[in-house]
Structure formats: C-alpha cells, structure tokens
Symmetry: C2
Subunit: 445 residues, 2 copies
Amino acid sequence: MHAPQLQTAGIKKKPMSLENLNELPATEIVRMIGDGTTTAEAVTQACLDRISAREDTVKAWAYIDADYALAQARILDEMPERKPLHGLPIGVKDVIDTADMPTQMQSSAYEDHQPRTDAACVAMLRAAGAVILGKTVTCEFAGSFPGPTTNPHNPAHTPGGSSSGSGAAVGDFMVHGAFGTQTGGSVLRPASFCGTVGYKPTYNLINRAGLMFAAENLDTIGLLTRTVDDADLLMSVLLNRDRAAVIPDDAKPKIGLCHTHHWDLALPETISALEDSAKRLEMAGAEIVEIDLPKSFAGLSAARNALNDFERSRVMADLWQNERDHLSANIAKQLANGSAMEFATYQNAVVLANDSRAQLDDVFGDVDVILAPSATGEAPEGLDYTGDPQFQGCWTILHVPTISLPTHTGPRNLPVGIQLVGRRWQDDKLLSWSRWVVDKLGIWR
Amino acid sequence: MHAPQLQTAGIKKKPMSLENLNELPATEIVRMIGDGTTTAEAVTQACLDRISAREDTVKAWAYIDADYALAQARILDEMPERKPLHGLPIGVKDVIDTADMPTQMQSSAYEDHQPRTDAACVAMLRAAGAVILGKTVTCEFAGSFPGPTTNPHNPAHTPGGSSSGSGAAVGDFMVHGAFGTQTGGSVLRPASFCGTVGYKPTYNLINRAGLMFAAENLDTIGLLTRTVDDADLLMSVLLNRDRAAVIPDDAKPKIGLCHTHHWDLALPETISALEDSAKRLEMAGAEIVEIDLPKSFAGLSAARNALNDFERSRVMADLWQNERDHLSANIAKQLANGSAMEFATYQNAVVLANDSRAQLDDVFGDVDVILAPSATGEAPEGLDYTGDPQFQGCWTILHVPTISLPTHTGPRNLPVGIQLVGRRWQDDKLLSWSRWVVDKLGIWR
C-alpha cells in the first residue's frame, strides 16, 4: 500500500454536541420516545422546523404535508404500546410507492400519481411505528437527470443522485433516515457528497415490491442515515433479525484495500481519505492488504450501462411509446439506446456480471472487509450533473453490500466518504465492521 | 435408464386439421395478417367467438371487453405497416398491469383496480402489434388459492395454477398465447394440465416491471402457447433477438434424464410419459444419460417455501396490516408464517439456492438439455387444489429456463407433459432443442 502522512486536517470530527431532536441518532430517538423522554410529535415537529428553515435552500422534498405528518405522530403517541421504530421520522425516495402520498418520479408524466398501496419497505417501517414524513426528490425516474435539490453543505454544489433528496435531507438533519435506491451509484454517491452513511444492501435484500424499476438486475433499495447503528436498526426491522454483532474494540481485522479499475478518476481528497483511513486503521490494529480486482472486471462498467439501458427501455416501454414528450432528453437517449440494443449485447453483459460474481470468493480471499473509494471526490460544483458513478457502480453490478462512511472532508470543506464492501448475504458482518471502522476513525457512529 | 415398452396409446398426435383462425399457430396468424390472407379483426373475432361458446364452462377470463378488443384489431388493420406481431391476440395473467384494463389479482382487495401503465412485457408486445385481448384468471395474488377456471379438457378437473386462465384459454383455443408467472410451478403445471406449451425463461429474462410480486427472488414471467415456435416468436420480440436456431433433423443430442428428488410423487402416466419420451428420443438419435441431482438439492423445496413466505409477507405487508379481511385463509397462513420467520431461516434458504445454482454447470455436464417430469400426472379432479408444484418448483428456485411440452395423455385422456430444462441464459438453445424434441415425438410444434 501507499504510505501517506497521517492526515489531520481532513478527518471529520465527532460532533461536540447534538441536542436538537432532529439531530440525534435514530437509535437515540427510539429510546427516548420509548421511555417517555420525548414524544413522536416533538420529534416530528423538530424535523418540520428544520425543513421550514432550510427547504428553500436545500429543496430536498418532493412532497411533504406537515399537518398530516404531525397527525401520524400524535396517533403513535396515543398508542399504549411502543413499537421498534415508534415515532421515528423517515423519508422515502419518490420512486417508492406510498399509499397516502403521491409518487411522482420527478417526472411530469407522474404528476400527482397516487399509488394504491405502500411499497413493501414503507409498509414494514410503518408497521414498526415509523412516521413516513414525506417523499424525497429523486432524479427523473432514478436516472441521472437531476431535480432541484442542492448540497446541504453548499447549495452551489450537487447533492449527488439519484437519491438526491434522501442524501440532502438526512445530511441536513431534516429527517433521521431515508430510503434511497441504487442502480449505479445512487445511494452511496449522495451519501458521500452529503456527509451521511449510505448503505446499499446485497441485491434483493430489501424487498422491491412497490419500487418503480430502473433496471431490475441492478436496482437495490438502500438507506441513508447519519450513523451505522441507525442503518442497522432499520435493517433489523425490515429483515426480522437481531442487531448486528458488536466487534470487540481490540479486534485485528484483515482489511482489503481496493483501488478498483477506476483509480485514475480519484481526486486528491479521495486519494487522501482512502490512504488516511488505511493508515489509521492499521494503527488501530488492522492488517491492510492490497486487493486487485481481476482484469475482466474492467468490463463491468460497460456491462452495467448495457444492463441499465436494455432493461430501462423495457421498464419504460409504455411511457416511451405513449408519453415521450414528458421525458428528458437525457433519459430518452438511454431508452433509444436500450430499445435498439440487440439481445446478444445484453446477454454478454449479464454473463460477464454473473461470471464476475462467481469470482468474488477469490477476490475477497480471507479479508474481513474491503476498503475502497466511495466517490471521485467532493461534490462537484453545479446542479446539472450529479457526479461520476464509477466507484459505486462496479460494486452495484456485483450485487455485494456496500456502505459509504462520512469520514473526511475535502479542500472546499465538503464531505468525502470512504466505502466498505462486504460479501453477498453477509450484510450484518459489513455493518459490524463498519461500526468498528468509524469508531477507530474517531467519527460519530 | 429404465427400458420401458414403447408406448403407443398415450402419445399426443398431431392435430389432423386446424382451420379456424383461433386454432392456428401464432406464427401462422402473423404470416397471414402480414400477407393479407386474413385480418386482425377476423382473428380477434374468431377468438371472441370461441370464448363466447366456451367461457361459461372454462371461466378463463378475469376481464374481457369484446368491443374494445375488436376496436384495437381494427386500428391495427388500418395501419399501413405490419409489425412483428401484427394482430396477434394475447392474454395477460391478471397480476400483470395493463393500462387499459383493470388488474384485479383475483382478490376483492383489488376489485376494479386500474394501473396507470402497461407492464413492461405488455407494452413490448403491444408496441409490436399484438392485440391485448383480456386478462386471464389467476389464483389469488398468484398464490395457491384458485379462481373459478376449469380444465378445458374436463371441467371437473383443475386447470392447474396459478396461471390458471392463461393455461385454460390457450389450451382451449380462445387465444394464441398468454403471459403467466411462475414462483413455484405456476406456468408449467397449468401448461401440462391444459395441454399447452409452458415456458418459464431464465429468471429475470422477461422484464418484471408492472408485475405484482409474489416473491421476487423466484417470480418469473413466462409464456403459455400452443407451439414452441410461438413461444420463440414472442421471445424474439421481447428480447430483440433473432428466432432461435433450427437444429438439423439428424442431430445427435446428449439428453440428461433427470427424475429429480421428487420421483416418488410421479403418477403412472408421468412415469410412462417420461420413459416413453426418452425411448423415442433415443430411437431418434439422442444419447440418453441419467442425471442425478446433488443430495443437497433435496433441501430446495423447503428453501423455496421459505423464500416464498418471507418475501410474500413483505410484498403484501400493507395488505396484511390494513386489508386482512380481503385475504383468503390460504394466503393469510403464508403471510403469518413469513412475518414471523426469522431472517436466519430465510438467509439459509437464499444461500442454499445460490450455492445450488453455482453447481449447475457440474449438474449439466456435457448434456444439451435435461428431460424431467413436468407434473405429477394428469390434472387432479376438483377445483379446490391446483396440483403439486414440486416438479416445477425445484427448477424455479434454480433460475434455469424450463419448458413443458404437451406430448402425452393419461388414463383419463387428459394431457400429460414432459419438461425440458436448459442452462441459465441459454434460453435460445432450450427452445431450439425443444423444437427438435417435439418434432421427434411427432407432435405439433
């Protein structure tokens, strides 16, 4: 590995004090509502107050009804029992169905569209006592054409996408957690840019019923939260499992440092964040080993694009035939490409993806977790482009669980994350190691 | 292999004459409309006439509007161009969205439910000129609680399920082809019982946008048609590929005869159909070798049930919370089981499924195609039970493409199919071999 100087300026410090209800971790909120220290209504009100103060700048929400949200919270406060997520406000990316709010896909074609039923993931959290606060802005149909959302750390910069509103709302303390979706880099990139945790589980782990697909061989529902524990709490409810195990403080993990085939895209702040993290984790007892991806994996980027366009042209075939004037030029180009694509091109992409997944055991070897770049660097300036998805997309097509941790800042004092990658269907281990890593890096977990 | 007597009574003969437009193969219909021999309206009218004559008995349709269907056909007749499926009537299982017809899931909860948009697969066929004739009866939410449909060969017998209406309508010459879905055995079993071709592609090959999921790690959209060529024609449109290659008449394939771990469930007519097929194919030049599935595959049946219940309880979480009184006791039991299931049980099932899929190359070895039982036997008497899904389900969870071919009849003169199984993502080869097999067995292809 490289042997960088230990960085002191760029590491993100633990917040000194977080007193407002909208700022506290979800785990803490649930505990406080559970023991009567606060109420669901007070928590929801704190979020709404933050939104009132900041939404004109951040523009994270596609739909929110403050009175309705408070009414939900009051109903929860009046219940005799306390559920696992009782009173916890949650945002939902606006490509995921909600039975009581429109789902508009950031497209005029879906203006005021009202689904019949909650998506599976929404219904599960609601049944566990969550307050579904509102719908967060997505890029058009979870693609790359951005909505109005700005980066909460600097409104001249993109929040990333396509889960733009979920990243910005969680990063701006407007809500404690939010659903996102990732087909390329749509959960981890906004997380890295907005300074949140962004967790994309193993493909298909969070049930996708009620999600508007982009490309079903890639689409994965994920979570944007402020802490690893908060993501784990939500997953424990979605999956009916215990919380992920706590790894002893003196553990000696073997961590695979993986620069990926896209390392030439890394900006200085990403290089620095990765090297600094590796150095600190080594000092904390980890063994750092280099992981080289097989050469064939270099083709996964093109394969991911083929899957995306071919499948999206099927998903949106009705819109493409009948409502083309509602679509951006950006997405129209993908649909035209996918519609014209011969099956053999798509098939080759699928086969490469499957073959690559079959090599993952060899890639991981005996490492506990892989450390990789999360994004190319800080959020780019401007709102027309949500940033390069390569560092996220190569893991998405591999179907592995990945998480972006908000560990560093860059030259403009914007967030820079690092990415940890786990084995398929071993998400609990990834979350356990993620918590150990953030502890060792000295940031708020 | 066993060395049975060559069966002469049970083999299904080529029809001697098929003159009516509703009876001709889809390939022939498209050719005739294309060259002006007939019109879309005449073909649609022929289907509607058959439905008028038979629907009181067969009850295959959940929704059909004759005037609207004819209007669609007339619009197609008036077009200057001829599209790949111009004028071909198609049925759609009533768990797949249609923009112009309700999608009611055979549940009072979804009475008159009108989706916004065509499902991907519907939009693709419609764009290619198909007439979407109507919605076919499904078991409740594509589960096991049956609708009213009867077997077209004997109304006292089940048509199979859950694609009951698609199997019955195609088997009864009411429509030339129909979409079904398979989570356990819901395409191939009705195909075998109703005497149609039933094709379940590789998992995820037909895009599932707009499908109401049962269990997304299993759900596969498939086709019920009367010939292998018809299924191939529809796939060529859905996938933008050429028609599957024609295998030379004098080919010498290696066919793997696989009795599966469920052979004790096979009734005499299934044993006879399988042995007779193997014998005839051997006489036609095939080499028949026994394929033994790994012992661990015996666990796939329980694993499939775990996936089904865990995932279905998420898909239907909103209905389970808020509209439970609309659900049958049958599906309620699955939802209760899935809601209570601990994640570890589900995870073990997923891992077994993944590990089993990884062994498929070894299972297939160098055989060209696997020959297996399609269903336990003829359609059981009675309409309360759609039959045992074991012979279909073990392949569904493996994500391999499979097809049921209507080759034989049983002691009550009801259809008995055989199943051919291909390698994942090699569906075109499966279809090519299927055509060779039906040719050699002397049935209508």
